[in-house]
Symmetry: D3
Subunit: 332 residues, 6 copies
């Protein structure tokens, strides 16, 4: 994955998004004429996949004095241990004190998403996972959520903004709305086939009106070789997608000569269900994962001062001085 160009938002740079007490602190320090060199260490409260560091780097490179700074960090996408120092900043405190809230928040939210994505990818035995959760988060973070999912190992995502950040193309099938508006799955699938560019894969959603096996055979007969996949998204009201349903759709497609048609499964997918599908031999060719990734809890990060003008310091409960971590790389 190419590193995207993160541009700090104006509201972040101005301190609008910060906890107000950092603004107070900056004002007090300025009035007291204090601007010591300070070393801040940032670590996560639980283990996971680090994400957001590139965005943090973009912010720091903008605000720290170029000739008086030293920043060390773990790389984007790395596994990190519980309470392992993931970022260490040394610079005049006034240059970055205001951004503690933003730095911790970017790392917390992005690492939460990337870690959940990785949990899915790890159990999927190479079957691609696509992030489908844009609809569960505020649109201001839909893109960065999908980007984090791809950092965590997803093969793609559904939002254009996420795909743009990750330097890829968004993945899309068709929504139930299209089929409901056109009144029939075959009609909708034919229209999709007629108007979409040839390199957009034809994936038909087959649970809207009829039984999934019947509809799968109907769209396969309608599109023939051009049909790439069917997507099963059976709602919970109908028992959700089951292992047996996938097997049966596969068997009936094969019996009818449509072995080339792949089966894509979505709807409430999480690592436990992925394991259940795979351990029971369900022939799934791809999973769409929504809320398990998008709704993942952030991994809270803590930022602590450990040196002030070369003196080891720490609040009660922490150990004064630099915490050694040979895995850190200098990034600024």
């Amino acid at each position: 994955m190419r590193v995207p160009e993160f541009v700090p938002a104006e509201a972040v740079l101005s301190g609008q998004t910060a906890d107000v007490y950092f603004a107070h602190t900056l004002e007090i320090l300025r009035r007291e004429g204090l601007n010591p060199m300070a070393t801040m260490e940032v670590f996560p409260g639980r283990s996971g996949i680090l994400c957001g560091m590139e965005e943090v780097r973009a912010l720091l490179s903008r605000v720290l004095p170029e000739d008086n700074r030293e920043v060390w960090a773990l790389p984007e996408g790395e596994a990190m241990g519980r309470r392992e120092v993931a970022l260490r900043i040394t610079a005049p405190y006034q240059s970055y004190g205001l951004y503690e809230t933003a730095i911790a928040g970017i790392l917390a939210h992005c690492s939460g998403w990337a870690t959940a994505a990785r949990q899915c990818v790890e159990v999927a035995r190479g079957i691609p996972i696509v992030s489908f959760g844009a609809r569960h988060v505020h649109p201001s973070v839909a893109g960065i959520m999908d980007y984090s999912a791809i950092v965590g190992g997803c093969a793609g995502c559904s939002s254009s903004s996420g795909a743009a950040l990750a330097g890829t193309r968004p993945s899309g099938t068709m929504p139930h709305a299209l089929i409901l508006l056109m009144g029939d799955t075959v009609v909708a699938t034919r229209a999709f086939d007629r108007h979409m560019p040839p390199d957009t894969p034809r994936i038909s959603l087959v649970d809207t009106f009829k039984d999934e096996t019947e509809e799968s055979l109907r769209v396969a007969e309608a599109l023939g070789d051009r049909l790439n996949s069917v997507r099963l998204d059976t709602p919970a009201e109908r028992g959700g997608v089951t292992v047996d349903l996938v097997k049966e759709v596969r068997a009936r497609l094969d019996l009818a000569g449509f072995s080339h048609v792949r089966i894509f499964v979505s709807g409430g997918i999480d690592p436990e269900r992925i394991v259940r599908f795979l351990e029971n031999g369900a022939p799934v060719d791809g999973f769409g994962v929504g809320s398990y990734i998008s709704d993942a809890r952030p991994i809270d990060f803590t930022a602590d001062l450990h040196e002030v003008d070369g003196r080891p310091v720490a609040k009660r409960g922490r150990t004064p001085g630099i915490t050694p971590n040979p895995r850190l790389k200098r990034i600024l």
Copy 2:
């Protein structure tokens, strides 16, 4: 609370943050010359406090044709039941189909935060709760998260952007960083007192260097009547803030004649711990709640078409036609 002026972001209006299959759907419909009047209903997957509806209203008022639309909704901040219809849009589908992702995402994320806030407020017996979680979410949503917490019942929040949206002032005490930089809690508290405007309450953070009871008495002696509160934020490494600690600080402050000093508690607070403090008689005057609110899981919303050009429709698993809900109010 005054209704804020929500302004739809350009990336939302352009469809950048949408699932790409909605862009595909719009293009197919346009090429097919289809733009039926369509009624979409939106409902939550679990019960909670509705939040985000004002921002959704702002988006819809911008995109729906003024003379051909009808939008009904539950009000911001209302309790909503599991699967209760919270929003119903009737308008030409092409005018709003692209925004299904954003509408669901705004409601999901904001309702998740507001609901968690409400859970804290409900058990706090009137003791004010301040939202302290900006540091756990991406700065792009720090403000809207804090706004949602206040919709849920919080008395205030720590981020300037959240306070601006909610039409209030941000709440701040002092960070550990200020004390570590100045080397002593009393010195830092005196500096705060010297430079902050008189209407900013003097709240001293008393767990940085010394035992909380000792430090509380030191800052109370230093500021006397001007001291508003002490904040206890004992880290988990030292056992966190306990019921007994609050009682002892209160007793020692009272013994020394500082009954006017209030006690504010933060650090890992959630409804269960609030209950434990209050049921065991800990004399807390305010709670700061961070990750319980900021890290709350979104409440996923589902959007379904239920009528197309006056005909009842629904996908399998849902019931065709309008779902009656007398609690809805017309908002557009």
Copy 3:
């Protein structure tokens, strides 16, 4: 319910089905010239609904000497407490000692079935339950099992032999086999309608080939007013019958003007699932219950001698002498 004419089987009367040690005992007593008046009490190991007593009565009336017997019992279909004496026989021991095995076995097996049936009936709020479990028991007891289910409160049963014992008509819809053989649900339903007598209700099984809602509408359109019910029997591989499926079938039938068509539900039904359907408002008009009733564990009965020639006796662990139970009625 009319009391059926139970006729003791030859294998029972000859002692073939008995534990062989009773045959030994009889032989020893005869050789020793012993035939005391003995009182045997029979009681269940757990509470439940008593069933089988009529068949036991038929056996005893055949073997006990008419002028030297006294038999007291609880009536068929009564609730009985744990370890409550349900049957007391006083007669010369040689006349009945051989039948202890059969008496205990009839009561155990029948009471097990009746009790399970009652558990379903008790939670069904008056909605009829039909016993469908003949296929899970040996055909030698299919009839008595269904009879016991009706004693327990079922409205009917599927086996002809069970219905004959209970003095009613067997209940039947149509099997999946008929539909698979004829290739289409509507074709099979029309054939049923053509050939069955008018007083046989037309109940169509709607989960064989197509989605249940689609098929329900097809058969309703085909038979119109003559259609009595649809039966939902969705297999576990498709998530089974859910609350939401029943609601949706009802809604779609009503929308299409088929409010007179009733909904009958089968497939893995037990009291817990009946409660779930009813508490969640699923509009079910009848339940078919199979293995919950047919596979019920017998309620083991114990038979103890408590008096021999007027002397109180008992083995260790039991109390000598007659155990009073005012609920008993004399039956022979």
Copy 4:
């Protein structure tokens, strides 16, 4: 074990014991002039020991046309997997459709009993298990239940009819009734010894009146070398048979010079208790198992049509066409 001669009952052949809808189906097919070649597959809902196949074979050999039938099956007594096809019938449907209920019922009930018996045998380390449960089932199935227990591995059974089917002799000790009638265990044991043929083992039941150790020594002294075993059947009211009790009886018999007397244990025995006896070194020489085997839940079987006139068919949830199973043997 020799294969018994099963003779189909008249009530089975006439369809009396069948679900009535199969009678309806047959009538409809006849009126429609349909009698296709149909392949039915039968499989169990959980794994276990297959039993009842010999009785099913007897039924099918009676009803299928000799020149137009093909039946494949797993052998009686084999382990079978969950949902593994255990029986496949190909023949004109009218010849066997009526017997689906009986076929499934025989296999379900018998396999349930055989499987429970096997569970006991598997943990008993070669110590013989005798089926004692005739008193817990309806006498119409007492024999077939005991036969199934022996198919599952039991060394014998207590009912004469079960022993007859299995080609063995019934096992019997003496009932509490004999001892209560004669008033003393030694008196009853002497009478047994006097009147029973020499090849019937002398097994004395020693918990009726006195402490088991005292009674064991009394009967051993009375019969000397002719005493084969004592049976411990202590009731639950006295704590049941415990590991320590068996050890103590053994030790006291040995101390008194009766090492040849064996110890047989009964009363609420199940695999868990067998394991506890053996793991704690209780010197048991035989177990009598009652309700654990006789009250075992049937293993429900499902029968599905998979081919009609050579065409693969299946209802939703099943895969059309023959399901390969190389373990099947042709039996007709």
Copy 5:
């Protein structure tokens, strides 16, 4: 209960039994010339029944200067709350500092025993409880343990030393040893009857050699009206004493005309088993409780200085100054 004369042991007075750091402290204070008036408060770590206070009073009355002391306490046998101050001593510290270990230890151990006894008494519905646990504790505390049990509500105890402290007579039946030595329960019971004074109740232990019911009848016949009770103490190896055993012994004694013979139950008795006996209607006339009382965990007490020469003091975690408790009475 009369208050016993407690006499402090020499090893306590000399400080031999104390934690050595109190000896060090006394030496340091003497060398520094410090002997302030100090107030020590003593409270339990959990709620329970206070016991040991009389022994503590005896110790303090011996060591505190008569003209310069004030001691307040809860009375012996009172219920005390968790962390409720149970004892407050004000005196020159050198006079009592050495005895903190002994004071806390006496209260802890005795209150543990008394509390366990009370738990038995509370559920026993007036049926007397006798403390039988002397054999589970070191003989140096056997007497004080039994005394504490009686303070907790027991009707008596088995040790002579405990009875002496409590001003009562020890309760005794007969041990298994007597019966084993004499070879028969009736022989032993007759010997007991022959040699014991008439006012010692004849209680026969009936589980040594024969079944309890048989033995009960034998001893009742042997002693007739002089038999006061039978004691059931069935070992765990024989299933322990069960509800049904007690009922059966009662029934068989009554049938034989021995209604005056009472039933005393021992062996692993605890509150849970007492409840089970009584809720199931077992006609028990007395319980012997051993390890539940004797092995009870001590209720740890904490001793804190709260005032030194009139100044409120406390260590971290405690509140300085006197803790008000209106329930305290002045005892010295």
Copy 6:
């Protein structure tokens, strides 16, 4: 460890501490003129570390006739299995029957303490454990409790009497009382240093007034090289001693150049917490264990007669005759 000189107490020898029924038994036997040679076996109800045998040996050597006795036992401090015979006495019954209560009680109580101590020692990886629980037991057993803890593996104990029995010196630091009386930890530590002999280690208790890290540095600076250890005993009200606290104190002491100062931890220590400290790398140099050892439940012992005048006997539930145990050694 040297074997201490146990001297039987007068109250034991006189039978005062015995269950009174042994006194009765002795009187009956004397009056009957019975004094058979009897063999008694004593075994524990659960596995553990045997303790108290030396004290029992002292008692038996005093009371048994020297020329007519044989006593076999497991050695003090050995592991013993559940129900393994740990002591076998053969002598005229009248010489020892009265002491069954004392023998069982000594073994039960002492083995309970020794076993709990061993559980701590086993998980402590060589870090010394000191018994601190004298304050939780009656002073009459404070010494024997501490002796048992040392038999179980403790490195020392706090009571003078325990140390005397074990032939070692008592371990002591300083109590909170000393610090509260002198008003400051440094002042108290300096006084301790001034007055205690040079070979008493200087261990300062650092949680009384100030934060533990601050106080540790203060006392280290005050005593320099003479400071042996700091003791952490943080009360539960302040979260207890945590892993992180120990690490932080160590780090701050090291940073300040006090690497020689050791860290001793006390307060609610048990095996589970020891494991947690060690598995999480807390640099603890010693543990003080109080109630886990002192409040341990006794391990109940049972004493049974197995031979009388050479005849094997036993009560029901036990096996007559000597129980072989090759691990026993002859001790008298």
